[in-house]
């Protein structure tokens, strides 16, 4: 057991911290208010090597560990949850499945543009009738002349229309249930790909969320990812690791909330002294910090296992569950500590609270995480 970062990790994280503090943080409020996709920041992250941080260098990545990547997501989300999410999804939900399950040819073609920021990635799994029950998707992929013809509608797609490369789940054999699902790498430039429903969201407003509509999209056979019929496994393995990124996002949001609250309670005077002098306030701060630390070690452990290629479904679900609930609790308490000022947009507390809510919902709701953990712990099913 060792809970310290090595000097290389510290060095690269310092770089991310500087970028996040100096370039991302000043923009966060406006990005949120205008629901503005921060294209320039994404380009900058590409230049800095953040967009492909954990990809091997041979594919244009920075060759960082997944653990370092998670800490980068945490730092970015500490400044702006939208900006951090765009980078996280690009890597964990699009690049990683290609890296884990792709052919050499697919890795060579798709990863480098994702790593440089030239192209942006997304995962298209959720459908109107297939949320938590992801195996019930209806999007179809029918083989014809060495290609697959995809038809269907994917909803709630993070990076939606601003992405270029999509990992798409579709049904290739309707009689096979989960074993009839196949993943495809779909490009925006393919005829028949379109986007509808630009969601106006509670939080993470700078990360565009749209529907992706597939109408007779012809996808060449070489874009099958991970083998025909393996799509459900590819996607579930992707989400096992992806949840570590969401846990990191949640920790980042929670830290930002606590830090803002700490600053406020030491300045705010009531009853003749800073409100930080009151035990009621102190106890809230102590609980917030303790929960954040707990979430953080759970997140780091899952990332460590992921780096060692040790199955981590249990650990990543625990991390996502605990971190998401912590972010919501801590962000809500931070609004409370700021009182009326917490409720107005001049302070970032309310944005953190809105951003935090999504971490309890996406990449598997907290209820799904509990099922995953319970199945592992009780060995049921």
């Amino acid at each position: 057991m060792n809970f310290t970062l090595d000097s290389d990790q510290k060095e690269i994280l310092d770089l991310v911290k500087d970028f996040a503090a100096n370039e991302v943080r000043p923009r966060a409020a406006a990005i949120d208010e205008r629901a503005e996709y921060p294209a320039d920041l994404v380009a900058k992250m590409g230049e800095l090597g953040l967009m492909g941080a954990p990809f091997p260098e041979e594919y244009g990545g920075a060759g960082q560990s997944y653990l370092t990547f998670a800490l980068m997501v945490e730092e970015l989300c500490r400044s702006c949850a939208s900006t951090g999410l765009i980078m996280d999804v690009n890597i964990s939900l699009c690049g990683e499945p290609i890296l884990m399950f792709g052919t050499d040819d697919q890795k060579a073609r798709f990863l480098a543009p994702l790593a440089t920021g030239e192209k942006l990635g997304a995962l298209a799994m959720t459908e109107p009738e297939a949320g938590s029950d992801a195996a019930s998707i209806k999007t179809s992929a029918v083989k014809r002349n060495g290609s697959y013809i995809l038809n269907g509608r994917k909803i709630f797609i993070t990076n939606g229309e601003v992405a270029d490369t999509y990992v798409v789940t579709a049904v290739t054999d309707r009689d096979m249930g989960p074993n009839g699902i196949t993943d495809f790498i779909v490009e925006k430039s393919m005829p028949g790909v379109s986007f509808t429903t630009h969601y106006d969201k509670l939080g993470i407003r700078g990360a565009p969320t749209t529907d992706v509509v597939l109408e007779d999209v012809e996808v060449p056979e070489e874009n099958v990812l991970g083998g025909v019929g393996n799509g459900f496994k590819v996607t579930m393995d992707t989400l096992d690791a992806g949840r570590i990124g969401i846990a990191a996002q949640a920790v980042g949001i929670a830290r930002a909330s606590l830090e803002d609250a700490l600053e406020y309670v030491q300045e705010r005077q009531q009853f003749g002294k800073p409100v930080s002098h009151f035990q009621g306030v102190q106890f809230m701060l102590a609980d917030m910090a303790t929960q954040i630390e707990a979430a953080r070690v759970l997140m780091l452990r899952a990332a460590f296992l992921r780096d060692r290629h040790i199955p981590c479904a249990r650990e990543s679900s625990m991390a996502k569950l605990f971190a998401g609930d912590t972010a919501m609790k801590v962000a809500t308490d931070a609004v409370q500590l700021l009182g009326g000022y917490g409720y107005i947009q001049e302070y970032p507390a309310e944005r953190h609270m809105r951003d935090a809510k999504i971490t309890q919902i996406y990449e598997g709701t907290q209820q799904i995480q509990r099922l995953v953990v319970a199945r592992q712990v009780m060995n049921t099913r």
Partner: protein, 381 residues
């Protein structure tokens, strides 16, 4: 970062687990019912070299790190909270002050006997009117020609009457509060030392708890531990690593209760199926298991910091807060999962719940932990 046990740590875990499951588990209920100090198990632990785990080899100990210490306490607490607290108090607050602050003569006189289990250690800080406000203690130490004379009443002393060596804090100068306190090594045969009536506790039956009464206790001059007026610092440093032990005890209690509840839920049939199939039970178990893992990681994080010699008061307090609140929550939920059977003594979970309550109170109440954490958060700003 490395989230795996070293070979040495894994070896200790296996050895202690064998002892805990083989020798302690069959006795745990009987110890609870009879309320008798398990002297035979303490002797066996001594024979297995478990009594001096963190004492350096040159003083007869095993010289292992504090993660090994935490593992030892957790494994025993998972079957018996009572034996865990006996060994924990002996090892941490009962022995470590001599290691940290003792003269070479004091170390070579006491540590080998404490490490071998020939002597049992204890720690006497609390007084009837000095609980959380430890600096207000009133026991006195007066220097005379032949040494020191101690007077006062200590209360809630774990291992009282069974211990051979007590680390006693008393007021030896006129300096107010913390500055006037000194620490002393008091042996059981010191004239004037006696014990109050045994306290009848809610849990941790079999662990001796009660008053240590000092009536003109005469000590030689070299009984002073650390410098004069340094006693409060001795006590606080002892409690920092002591909290790692209590965290580990809490993790063990929570784990013991969780494991029992999981096994029960898989067996117990209602509505035609094992109750482990019900989502309501699964969600409880998922939250319990997640909190236990987080608490263990935080305990080890504090232990790791302690061993690296960096300040760890903050981490130890967070671990203690998280772990003991988790122990209370998880043991209470375990009783709930067992329903009526959880409430009767034929099943061990009510014992775990009674034992868990102490962990939120001793070695600094969780309210004191919150103050320590908040002070660190607000420090310097």
């Amino acid at each position: 970062m490395r989230f795996e046990l070293s070979d040495e740590q894994a070896m200790i875990r296996d050895a202690v687990r064998d002892f805990a499951q083989g020798a302690v588990a069959p006795r745990a209920d009987e110890i609870d019912r009879s309320n008798e100090f398990p002297a035979d198990l303490v002797r066996q632990a001594a024979q297995l070299d478990f009594m001096g785990i963190s004492i350096p080899e040159r003083y007869g100990g095993s010289g292992l790190d504090h993660i090994c210490f935490a593992i030892l306490v957790e494994e025993i607490a998972a079957v018996s909270g009572t034996l865990a607290v006996i060994l924990d108090v002996h090892t941490s607050v009962g022995s470590e002050p001599i290691l940290f602050f003792g003269t070479e003569d004091q170390k070579s006189r006491y540590l080998p006997k404490l490490a071998s289990g020939d002597m049992l250690g204890a720690f006497a800080l609390t007084e009837p009117d000095a609980g959380s406000d430890a600096a207000s203690l009133r026991s006195t130490a007066v220097r005379d020609a032949s040494g020191w004379v101690l007077n006062g009443t200590k209360t809630f002393i774990t291992n009282v009457g069974e211990a051979d060596v007590y680390i006693v804090m008393a007021r030896s100068t006129d300096a107010p509060r913390a500055g006037g306190i000194s620490a002393f090594i008091v042996e059981r045969d010191a004239p004037g030392l006696r014990y109050g009536e045994p306290m009848h506790k809610m849990g941790l039956h079999g662990s001796a708890t009660g008053e240590l009464i000092l009536e003109d206790v005469r000590l030689p001059g070299d009984a002073l531990l650390g410098g004069e007026g340094e006693g409060f610092r001795v006590a606080m440093k002892a409690l920092d690593s002591g909290r790692i032990g209590i965290s580990a005890q809490a993790v063990g209690l929570a784990r013991g209760a969780l494991d029992y509840a999981v096994a029960y839920a898989r067996e117990r049939k209602q509505f035609g199926q094992p109750i482990s199939r019900f989502e309501g039970i699964q969600f409880m178990v998922a939250d319990m298991a997640t909190a236990v893992d987080a608490a263990r990681l935080m305990t080890w994080e504090a232990a790791d910091a302690c061993d690296r010699g960096v300040p760890f008061t903050y981490l130890a307090s967070m671990a203690k807060l998280m772990a003991t609140d988790t122990a209370m929550q998880v043991t209470t939920d375990a009783v709930q999962i067992l329903g009526g059977y959880g409430y009767i003594k034929e099943f061990p979970v009510e014992r775990f719940m009674r034992d868990a309550k102490a962990t939120q109170i001793y070695e600094g109440t969780n309210q004191i932990q919150r103050i320590v954490i908040a002070r660190e958060l607000l420090r310097g700003d």
